[in-house]
């Protein structure tokens, strides 16, 4: 798995366009949530190898599971471009719920972090995840309006399609790997 692929897969899984439609308007909570999610992602990636060992799964096979998750997640983004708003904890607690979980720590992010751990490319995964979350932060500077929301929804759909393609590419990779 190359860094470029990880970047595309993680950005499409996080889907900043789609997320912007439901992120809390408090930027500090989003920033803190991104840090929490990045730390959690790092922890997941760090135990990826041990996790796959415990499950008796080779990294090559686990890639197939990640591919399935990416494809399903992408399909959801494609079909449901406007997600429903999640309940929020009060104050900075919103950084934890809903920003870190469930918005930023998507199933795809968790699967890709585990995959990267199994492939010993934790550093790449963290760098790519950092870029993805930075894009989410940047998206909070987009002012909400009817027109902006429509464009974000379209962008979310586009990223959903790209996530499906990333899933297919990962599945093919898994089928070709020894």
């Amino acid at each position: 798995m190359s860094f470029a692929f990880l970047l595309v897969a993680l950005v499409t899984s996080v889907n900043p366009c789609r997320l912007r439609l439901v992120l809390p308007e408090r930027r500090a909570a989003v920033a803190l949530g991104a840090l929490i999610a990045l730390g959690s992602g790092a922890a997941v990636a760090a135990v990826g190898d041990a996790f796959l060992d415990a499950l008796d799964i080779t990294p090559e096979t686990f890639r197939l599971a990640s591919a399935v998750v990416l494809a399903l997640e992408g399909a959801r983004a494609l079909v449901l471009a406007r997600p429903t708003r999640e309940p929020e904890l009060g104050g900075l607690g919103a950084a934890l719920v809903p920003v870190a979980f469930p918005l930023l720590l998507t199933p795809g992010v968790v699967m890709l972090a585990l995959t990267a751990g199994g492939d010993d490319i934790v550093g790449w995964a963290l760098a790519a995840l950092g870029v993805a979350y930075a894009l989410v932060l940047l998206s909070t500077f987009i002012p909400r309006s009817t027109r902006a929301d429509a464009l974000l929804a379209a962008g979310g759909r586009l990223l959903g399609g790209a996530e499906i393609a990333a899933g297919v590419a990962l599945a093919v990779d898994s089928l070709h790997d020894v």
């Binding site: 080779t58 096979t61 998750v69 999640e86 309940p87 089928l175 070709h176 790997d177 020894v178």
Partner: protein, 391 residues
């Protein structure tokens, strides 16, 4: 909070579904050289006990109905001889050699001789590529094991038959018709192509300068670049014979297309190994992964992986595959050893001596290639284990 819990529950269920349907555990029993040698000896015992008059071997046995198969297949006959000569070459054991030589009388009674070539075919039957290719391979193993040159003319004649089946694009046709006295256009042999390729490669090594390199290179290029499309395989065909051939040709005779093909072949054999290691004889694994591979399936994957492991060690362009090839090989070979019927298990069969040392399918059937392929696969695995212990 309720919504969050619902979301977490959906994720947990999704993870469970993934575990059961997509990534069940890959079960790889530990493999020791002693266990592999024991399994080889038991498989040999099954083949040796099956020696029948006329140079034949027992073809198959249905344990459920206690019925010995009356079928026969000359390609598999040649395969048994190949495995036995391989084992004789490795062990120097006269008993093994005698069991291999037993098959020669059947061979000599079933040759179709033409002016330019000789094929291995039963009287009145068309000549098929695979039977002649595999017989040539077996006889070359015999030559290597014994140094006896008495079958050299036959080896060359079989090679000439394969060469006569080769087309301008390098491909080889699968059948020669007795009725029309000509090649059958558009008909290819599933395994015969790889067997022909390995035969050419072996002939080039055994008889250098006799012109075998050219058909070998042409066929290797065809297999690497066009075979899957022409012969109708969606994914790379998991052809262990081609793996043997690539390892035999070695880095010096493989161009970039052939190396790329070796990589693809390693991938598909690795995938087969991983999928097989997830299969089980019951429960959900049986539902989602189907029937575990037969002895022949386990053996062919092992043979292919071991051959590509040898190539990956010799060719730096494939060196990144060595560790994974070794891991998959150990897993598949370990599963083969585990699934062989041991003497105690055999006692419960109607005829214990037809069950002992065999690999049965789920419906209780075994045939000669279900023993022959694991024998060759485990022999090749032993070679890898020994090489790794000194690396």
């Amino acid at each position: 909070m309720r919504r969050l819990l619902l979301y977490a529950a959906v994720l947990a269920l999704g993870a469970l579904a993934l575990r059961v349907m997509v990534v069940p555990a890959e079960v790889c029993p530990a493999l020791t050289p002693a266990a592999a040698r024991g399994a080889i000896a038991e498989a040999f015992g099954w083949l040796e006990r099956g020696m029948r008059p006329g140079g034949l071997y027992t073809y198959g046995y249905d344990r459920k109905h206690d019925a010995v198969s009356e079928d026969y297949n000359i390609t598999r006959h040649a395969g048994v001889m190949f495995g036995l000569y391989q084992l004789a070459g490795e062990t120097g054991d006269d008993e093994v050699l005698a069991a291999a030589e037993h098959g020669l009388s059947f061979v000599h009674a079933n040759l179709l001789r033409k002016d330019d070539w000789t094929a291995f075919a039963e009287p009145g039957e068309d000549a098929r590529l695979g039977a002649s290719g595999l017989l040539a391979i077996a006889l070359i193993q015999r030559r290597l094991a014994t140094g006896d040159e008495s079958e050299d003319d036959l080896i060359r004649g079989l090679g000439q038959f394969l060469a006569a089946q080769q087309q301008a694009d390098g491909s080889v046709l699968g059948r020669w018709s007795l009725a029309t006295e000509s090649r059958v256009p558009g008909e290819y042999a599933k395994f015969g192509t790889g067997q022909a390729l390995w035969t050419f490669a072996l002939l080039d090594k055994l008889f250098p300068g006799e012109g075998w390199e050219k058909p070998a290179r042409r066929l290797a290029h065809y297999v690497a670049t066009r075979r899957d499309d022409v012969e109708g395989y969606v994914l790379t065909f998991p052809d262990h014979w081609s793996a043997y051939a690539l390892a035999e040709l070695g880095p010096g005779k493989l161009g970039e297309p052939e190396v790329a093909y070796a990589r693809e072949l390693a991938g598909i054999l690795g995938l087969n190994s991983r999928l097989e290691s997830q299969s089980g004889q019951g429960g959900l694994n049986r539902v989602f992964r189907g029937e575990p591979a037969s002895g022949a399936g386990l053996g062919t994957v092992s043979e292919g992986l071991a051959a590509l492991w040898r190539l990956s060690v010799a060719d730096p362009r494939l060196a990144d595959l060595t560790d994974n090839l070794s891991a998959r090989l150990r897993c598949t070979a370990g599963r083969a050893v585990e699934r062989q019927i041991d003497p105690v298990e055999a006692e419960s069969a109607p005829r214990p001596l037809l069950a002992r040392g065999a690999w049965f399918t789920e419906d209780g059937y075994t045939q000669m290639d279900h023993q022959r392929h694991p024998l060759s696969g485990l022999l090749a695995t032993l070679e890898v284990l020994e090489a790794e212990s000194t690396r």
